[in-house]
Amino acid sequence: MIQKKICLLGATGVGKTSLVKQYVEGIFSEKYLTTIGVKIDKKEIILPNQSVQLMLWDIEGIDRYCGFQPKYLRGASAYILVADQTRSQSLIEGFEIQQMVKAVVDIPGVLAINKVDLDASWHWSTNEVEEIKANFDFTFSTSAKTGLGVEQLFSKLASMLVD
């Protein structure tokens, strides 16, 4: 079975942890996020031809005042940047995080616009959002609460990585 390391990034409070919580196998407490800044879960994706195991490195919420361990990105096959469509700032910070990632590694990135179960209130225009989306390999709208788009996100990511 193919394994891939995926990093989950995003500003504090965008719902990274919640996004994967119900869809992954994990044995570690979330306290690891605040102790060493990362918690790792795994998600097995069954594709038509093969299975892919995604090792999901849920990296502690990043804001402009604190960076993240760039070493956590080492060896990653892709990253998922999570933004909260109810908070404008989360996209800006996401964009900044993406720049930090690109400075370290050159890997595919996926944008997950989370909390789509709520009304969008980030006052970004469609064009502006599309412009940001263009920096990613693909974008998914997700809801950790309803599960919308989550499976598809991982499946598409897995497919992309094994193709």
Partner: protein, 448 residues
């Protein structure tokens, strides 16, 4: 199967982790069950390693820091990083250093065998599936390394046990030999003229023998040699004594008779009966020699059964020769003396014994003297040392002479042949205690 008995340490699990991604390449565990969490643990270990590396790196010049050992009270995670992969061993219990050494060797071997696969790794661990063999070998070798000493320990123990047993056997043998020697030597007590006063084992392997030996008795070395008894383990302390053993008396008498081939002796009821013939001179000589055998209690009449050869037949019966022998024996008596305690005129047991001997010899000489027509007398001279007054010493010396005279008379010497004189003090600087004595002087007169 794994040993049911707990080891001092237990290798629970091995992880081969891709260094760059933290992805699990392979794992083996002692319980043979694949643990589903191994890949999560591998990734988390990598994260922790990264965390430590970044958090505690002192300088870039010193290179990347990495975890080497994570240890709790009874659990150890041992990490051996290679260029492409990290080999991790989970060990419970007290881990010996050789486990770390073996882990390093295994890690190097995996890099040597799977260098290309590790370099080309894109998430598919299948090409590295065979590395399980190396991990298992590592696990097994460690278990063997632990198990072997367990197997070897009995050999070591057996070696020690055999060594001790051999030593004990050796001790038992030399002890047994010492006992054998003891038993062999114990019959020495039956030997005439030898008294064993002490016989025992000393120094574990040696025998100490203390004996009293009459000089006429068999020599100990000869006795041992006759019986093939080794003497190297025998410590002998020998003191001389005079034996009254009948068997030894026979030996002594036979030794004396060996120079008198015409005289023989029989021992009915352990009493000597002499027969044969001898000259008068030989008779005198033989009498004197037999008298000298302590404990024999020789009496001149014992030789009455021996015929006297004709005077003409032997020049030794020449009167001059007999006279010379008489003088010789008189000189022997003249050399005799008895001693006393200071201020005392009492005769000791030893003195009485000496006087008995003197009486025998004196009476023997009377017969020989009469053949020469001579009459013998014995002058008994008492003396004292200078201690005390002159008068006292004069009287003391007389009392001593009288005491000896009375005893000799009592023993059987005719009183007409005895004359006791008190000399008083013998005042010689060289005399010392020796002055407290009675001296003898044999005198003879022509009795024609």
């Amino acid at each position: 199967m794994w040993p049911a008995k707990p080891l001092l340490f237990e290798l629970n699990k091995f992880f081969l982790i891709h260094r760059e991604t933290g992805l699990l390449l392979n794992t083996v565990s002692a319980d043979l069950n694949t643990n589903a969490d191994a890949d999560l643990i591998s990734a988390m270990l990598t994260a922790i390693n990264d965390f430590v590396s970044d958090s505690f790196a002192k300088s870039k010049e010193k290179g990347e820091q990495h975890l080497d050992v994570v240890k709790t009270d009874d659990f150890t995670l041992l990490l051996k990083p290679g260029p492409k992969a990290v080999l991790v061993a989970a060990v419970s219990g007290t881990m010996p250093q050789k486990v770390a050494d073996q882990l390093q060797l295994s890690m190097e071997e995996i890099h040597r065998l799977y260098g290309k696969e590790l370099t080309d790794f894109k998430g598919d661990a299948e090409p590295l599936a065979n590395s399980e063999q190396q991990l298992r070998d590592c696990l097994i070798s460690e278990l063997k390394a632990e198990a072997n000493p367990r197997k070897k320990r009995p050999w070591m123990a057996w070696f020690v046990v055999v060594g001790i047993a051999a030593f004990l056997v050796y001790l038992a043998v030399i002890r047994w030999q010492a006992h054998q020697l003891l038993q062999q030597v114990s019959v020495l007590n039956q030997q005439p003229g030898i008294v064993v006063t002490s016989l025992g084992l000393i120094n574990f392997s040696e025998v100490e023998l203390k004996i009293l030996r009459d000089p006429s008795a068999v020599e100990l070395a000869s006795w041992l040699k006759e019986r093939d008894i080794p003497s190297d383990k025998l410590q002998v302390i020998e003191r001389a004594y005079v034996s009254l053993d009948t068997e030894l008396l026979k030996i002594k008498v036979n030794a004396v008779l060996s120079v008198y081939p015409t005289v023989t002796v029989e021992w009915p009821h352990d009493r000597p009966v002499f027969s044969g013939e001898f000259t008068n001179v030989d008779k005198l000589r033989l009498q004197a020699e037999l008298h000298n055998i302590a404990g024999l209690g020789f009496k001149n009449i014992w030789l009455d059964g021996v015929k006297l050869a004709g005077k003409d037949a032997n020049t030794a019966d020449d009167p001059a020769v007999i006279r010379a022998i008489l003088d010789l024996n008189i000189a022997k008596l003249d050399r005799m003396s008895v001693e006393f305690e200071q201020g005392s005129s009492e005769l000791s047991e030893e003195t009485i014994s000496l006087l008995i001997d003197l009486k025998e010899q004196f009476n023997n000489l009377i017969g020989i003297a009469e053949q020469q027509e001579l009459s013998l007398g014995l002058i008994i001279m008492g003396a004292s040392d200078p201690t005390g007054s002159v008068a006292f010493n004069k009287a003391l010396s007389q009392r001593r002479a009288d005491a000896v005279q009375n005893k000799l008379q009592e023993l059987g010497i005719d009183k007409n042949r005895l004359n006791a004189i008190g000399l008083g003090v013998i005042d010689l600087k060289t005399s010392g205690d020796g002055a407290r004595k009675v001296l003898f002087n044999v005198v003879y007169f022509d009795s024609k």
